[in-house]
């Protein structure tokens, strides 16, 4: 209950801050040197937040879609031999530092949101893939046996049994990917993607701690809210399949 109250408070604070940042100028005043602005005004914070969230949502949807398709394919009898390959691809995606991906992608795609999307997409594949894999392979053997024995086709088993039962674990993977992407997206601003990283970078360049804190705070609060939302969804999905 206290947790829920705190979350609601955090959400209200965030909305209020984004709607009218200047009302909170007093909060950041102690952090600035004389003559520095307390609140970032180059671009409205709400607009940066929106484009940040859009970017993350796009990247998470894309990595979820691709990772899910991969996980489904390699858990079918025909695709089993591609499991090591799929593991390697997703692991490499996670190993490459997003900064390096940005550096590599800019010459090809130019500045803007594109390179950031690619970096986040690659970075987000692994959590969803590994979780979906675990969810699809660790099903109760009796349920799978019964499904086959009653005459569900492979496709019916996938949609009616395997995926619904794996849903809570898949949501956990999506949660990890979403939270990681949310933080990582900030570095996209180094290559001119419109994200909250812009505020942080501006703060670093002009030694304005207030800017750094504003950017970090908004990202942090959103990360917590997304984390909690996914956890709630996971719990609901787990309850539906008789767990928890």
């Amino acid at each position: 209950m206290t947790g829920r109250l705190l979350l609601a408070a955090a959400l209200l604070f965030l909305l209020a801050f984004l709607a009218s940042p200047h009302s909170f100028a007093g909060l950041f005043q102690p952090l600035i040197r004389p003559n520095q602005p307390a609140i970032y005004t180059q671009t409205p914070l709400w607009s940066l937040t929106l484009s940040h969230l859009t970017l993350v949502a796009l990247a998470v949807s894309a990595s979820t879609l691709v990772a899910l398709i991969l996980a489904v394919l390699v858990t079918r009898p025909a695709g089993r031999e591609f499991l090591p390959l799929a593991r390697t691809i997703t692991a490499v995606g996670q190993t490459l530092p997003p900064v390096a991906v940005l550096a590599l992608a800019v010459p090809v795609m130019g500045f803007g949101a594109g390179p950031t999307l690619v970096a986040l997409f690659l970075y987000g594949l692994l959590p969803v893939f590994e979780n979906a894999l675990a969810g699809l392979t660790r099903q109760p053997a009796q349920v799978a046996e019964a499904a086959r024995g009653m005459g569900l086709t492979a496709r019916q088993r996938l949609w009616q049994v395997d995926l619904p039962l794996a849903l809570p674990v898949i949501l956990t993977g999506m949660r990890l990917t979403a939270v990681i992407s949310l933080g990582t997206a900030t570095i996209g601003s180094t290559v001119a993607a419109r994200t909250l990283g812009e505020v942080i970078i501006a703060g670093l360049l002009s030694s304005n701690t207030a800017f750094v804190l504003q950017g970090g705070m908004v990202v942090g609060i959103i990360a917590i809210l997304i984390h909690q939302t996914f956890q709630t969804l996971e719990r609901m999905a787990a309850r539906r399949i008789g767990l928890g």
Binding site: Q142, A146, R148, G149, M150, G151, T153, V161, P164, L243
Partner: protein, 311 residues
Amino acid sequence: MIEIRNLTKIYDGTAAVDDVSLTVEKGQIAALVGTSGSGKTTLLRMINRLVEPTHGQVLIDGEDTQDIAPHLLRRRIGYAIQGHGLFPHHSVARNIGTVPKLLGWKPEAIRARVDELLELFQLDPAAFRDRMPQELSGGQQQRVGVARALAARPDLLLMDEPFGALDPVIRAKAQHDLRDIQRQLGTTLILVTHDMEEAVTLGDRIAVMDKGRLVQYAPPAEVLTAPATPFVRDLVGQAERPFRLLSLTPASAVARAGQADGAPIPRTASLRDALAECLWSGRDAVPVEGGGIVTLAALRAEAAPTARAAE
């Protein structure tokens, strides 16, 4: 009628099931018994093609199962397994309605069938229809599992250790209920069990499997009195033989005219029950409901294999 002809399954050069042939008549119960690894489950799973045979044929009412697509074949055959395998994310009604839905029944027809089956298995439809499997007791889950297997009115029902996860008291009742329901519906039933007691209680015929081979296929009395191999004799259990033999015959079958004291036993009670009653109450004879008595002498005669052989 189910005809199994020369059915063989070879895994890595070893035969899990080795040239098994047997026939189960319509409406009969065949119990496949054997130790673990004897091939009984593999044999069962070849009937609905969850395992593809290496050689041999299975004919259902003369139709070769190889001529039917596996998923269509399985929708025609009921299948119930140990630990029920209910879908945890579907309600009781949706679980039971699985196969009818696959077969394209109308929703109202499915609903009516679900309620009918719940009634049949003594579960109040209004109370149980919308429950989730994990909200049921073990015995209730097992009944829903069997109801699900029977939902599309299959002529053939396959069961793999269906009562394995139940405690003894519930198991005895579940076996009794299954027998009643099977008789009522006229379903042919092939049941895998490692428990000879269960095989004797339920089977019209018992198929004993050993190392992939069918070593004996006969009515329970014959398996008990004339085991084909030492393995079958061990499986029957020497100490249990007479009691299992007695359990096959209802008291009414050997009741003859006479007078005996004490409370009567039901007509459907087995001779084993009659013996237990005699021993426990210290009587030489017990009356049977509706007339007649069963004497210890009669019980002694029935419990000896020679008496049977002479019949």
